[in-house]
């Protein structure tokens, strides 16, 4: 069905032009397919693709429900923007940029679409090994050092993932997510303790990918060291972690899990809030635009984790809307930081006195839009997303914690970004450095990603409806669990 289109073979031609053309065409095709998939999942409900026709719960299945379709579409749009930007010249820093990019895309899409928890691990590894290659693309000291940390951490993460899978398989005897959600309710006390340990280990692993508080230290350095299009694509990788937490801890360890219901919540709460705080402090202390953007990614992760921790359909819907917005905008900000870097010569992207930029207007407008969207000022999408999130928490006892922290993190982002904007665009002296103007294709890529923010507001109605429907589907066990198993299946 759709998998055939997504498992794109990497282009193996020698000519960079052919690779670019093929890559862009492939990305465009994925965008189209993903949007069609979204529409189809909205109309006809969840779709199953049973690999090798081994019926669930035994075979491996690919599941395209509304949530997965939304995430795939988001990835596709972001990847298209990043690839377009890379075609402006960044893809020539190393040899295998395009094939690795496609592998990474396949890994991310696969992780979103799989309905089998071991397959999730395999797709994680696919996207990770591609990301290792992409991270050191271009070479250099910083990249090697960041890459070494990143690879080591993720290898340990993968090992823990396998331990968790072993525990869950050992107790429930299945790897299918839907089947596991049923079997988890039927365990006896001793097995339940093991399954709980497995579930918490999974939270740890996904928290590492998502950059949750004690596990987020790798993120700012890694993201700021990576080449711009790579960093932009990485903006969706933390969301893979959030998505997995959402999937595993809502479907398997969600409200229907009997004794094991909501085991992650006591941990998720404080960690989400602290992630938000630490991200905001990091943003205020950032010396350059790339690090600032990376810290804003941590802030957005904190915000999303709060919504996940609420475990209500409304909060999940808000999280989905906010996730689309924040991924695209942070991707755009990474690209923008690179544009600014190019134009400022030795000052790079640091907030110091430097020469004037060559095209301050084009870059400045883009920065202004991005900053407004990130901070969450009306009329852009960040405002809608935060509003939805705040509304969904109204009835909660923890509201006294959520509201001030969320709003203060917005203020911190506002201060940090205003400081960045004034020092980047206004604190300058002398004539701009001579050099080429920015390639049109790069600016086009940045504006394409930024256009998502107003579009998310203009088409806000359908978008909110869709995310609400996706969240309802995820929280409704008859749709997220029983619909994925054959009729009349008795565990």
């Amino acid at each position: 069905m759709l998998a055939g289109v997504l498992l794109l073979l990497p282009p193996v031609q020698n000519s960079i032009q052919k690779q670019r053309l093929f890559g862009l065409a492939a990305c465009g095709a994925v965008v189209v397919v993903a949007v069609l998939l979204m529409m189809k999942s909205q109309v006809s409900g969840t779709m199953l693709y049973v690999l090798g026709d081994w019926q669930p719960p035994f075979g491996i299945v690919l599941v395209a429900d509304r949530l997965a379709a939304l995430m795939v579409a988001l990835t596709a749009v972001l990847a298209f923007g990043a690839l377009l930007y890379a075609c402006g010249g960044d893809d020539q820093g190393g040899r295998f940029f395009h094939p690795l990019f496609m592998f990474q895309l396949m890994g991310i899409n696969g992780a979103f679409l799989t309905g089998d928890i071991f397959n999730l691990f395999v797709f994680f590894e696919v996207l990770l090994i591609a990301s290792y290659g992409l991270l050191i693309h271009g070479g250099g000291k910083h990249k090697t050092r960041a890459g070494l940390h990143y690879v080591t951490l993720n290898l340990i993460g993968s090992t823990l993932f396998l331990f968790a899978l072993g525990m869950l398989y050992g107790t429930t005897g299945t790897l299918n997510i839907a089947d596991m959600a049923i079997k988890i309710t039927q365990l006896d006390a001793a097995e339940r303790a093991l399954a709980k340990a497995g579930g918490m280990l999974l939270l740890l692993v996904f928290g590492l990918k998502a950059a949750m508080l004690p596990l987020h230290f790798w993120l700012p350095r890694t993201y700021s060291a990576a080449a711009a299009p790579v960093a932009a694509l990485f903006a969706v990788m933390t969301k893979v972690g959030i998505y997995s937490i959402l999937r595993v801890h809502t479907v398997i360890f969600g409200a229907g899990a009997g004794e094991l219901a909501h085991i992650a919540l006591p941990w998720l709460w404080p960690l989400a809030l602290l992630t938000l705080v630490v991200g905001a402090i990091g943003a205020l202390a950032s010396p350059g635009l790339r690090i600032l953007t990376a810290n804003l990614v941590v802030v957005s992760v904190g915000t999303l984790l709060i919504a996940v921790a609420l475990q209500t359909p409304e909060a999940t819907a808000a999280a989905l809307y906010y996730m689309v917005h924040t991924t695209l905008i942070s991707g755009a900000l990474f690209l923008l930081a690179d544009l600014i870097w190019e134009q400022r010569g030795k000052a790079e992207d640091r907030f110091v006195l430097a020469r004037r930029m060559r095209q301050p207007v084009a870059v400045g407008i883009a920065f202004f839009i991005a900053a407004m969207a990130v901070v969450g000022l009306p009329p852009l999408s960040g405002f809608v997303g935060k509003l939805m999130l705040l509304q969904s928490t109204v009835a909660w006892p923890t509201i006294g914690w959520i509201w001030p922290l969320l709003l203060l993190s917005g203020l911190a982002a506002l201060i940090a970004l205003s400081r960045a904007g004034t020092s980047l665009f206004w604190r300058c002296h002398g004539d701009p450095l001579p050099g080429e103007p920015i390639a049109g294709i790069k600016l086009a890529a940045v504006y394409l990603l930024l256009a998502a923010s107003p579009l998310l507001v203009i088409f806000g109605g359908p978008m909110v409806e869709y995310s609400q429907a996706a969240a309802d589907q995820l929280h409704d066990r008859s749709q997220s669990v029983y619909a994925l198993l054959p009729e009349g299946y008795e565990p």
């Binding site: 090994i129 050191i136 070494l148 080591t152 396998l162 398989y169 010396p287």
Partner: protein, 121 residues
């Protein structure tokens, strides 16, 4: 058998954790390798340990769970690729950074002070 098996897995894990916490890339690589051995054995045991039983359904009805074996196979392949990658990266780090510490610099009091000032070094 179970006790010995569990002891081996535990010992491998403990050694792996200890080695990954060291500062030099070589011991970290060895630690990761040990950890992946431990996890492979652990996965294998998740289908319950059985002696002299085939991994396929047969007429006698005595069989072991074949699925963990498939999982272990996948995990071995992936782990192998990852280890190869991290070894190459460690060698590149040795060449680029001039030493084999994970942080890319030889720890000393001065650099510890330096670290507090921000990411640039």
């Amino acid at each position: 058998m179970e006790a010995v098996y569990a002891f081996c897995v535990g010992l491998l894990t403990a050694c792996g954790v200890f080695l990954t916490l060291r500062g030099r890339t070589f011991s970290v690589v060895i630690g990761i390798t040990l950890l992946s051995y431990a996890v492979n054995l652990f996965l294998f045991s998740s289908g319950r340990l059985k002696l002299a039983a085939a991994a396929v359904l047969n007429s006698t009805g005595d069989y072991t769970d074949p699925l963990p074996q498939a999982l272990v196979l996948t995990a071995i392949v992936i782990g192998f690729a990852m280890t190869a990658f991290v070894v190459i990266l460690a060698m590149r780090g040795r060449a680029d950074l001039g030493n084999d510490h994970v942080d890319g610099r030889i720890p000393s009091e001065e650099s510890a002070l330096h670290r507090h000032r921000g990411y640039k070094s």
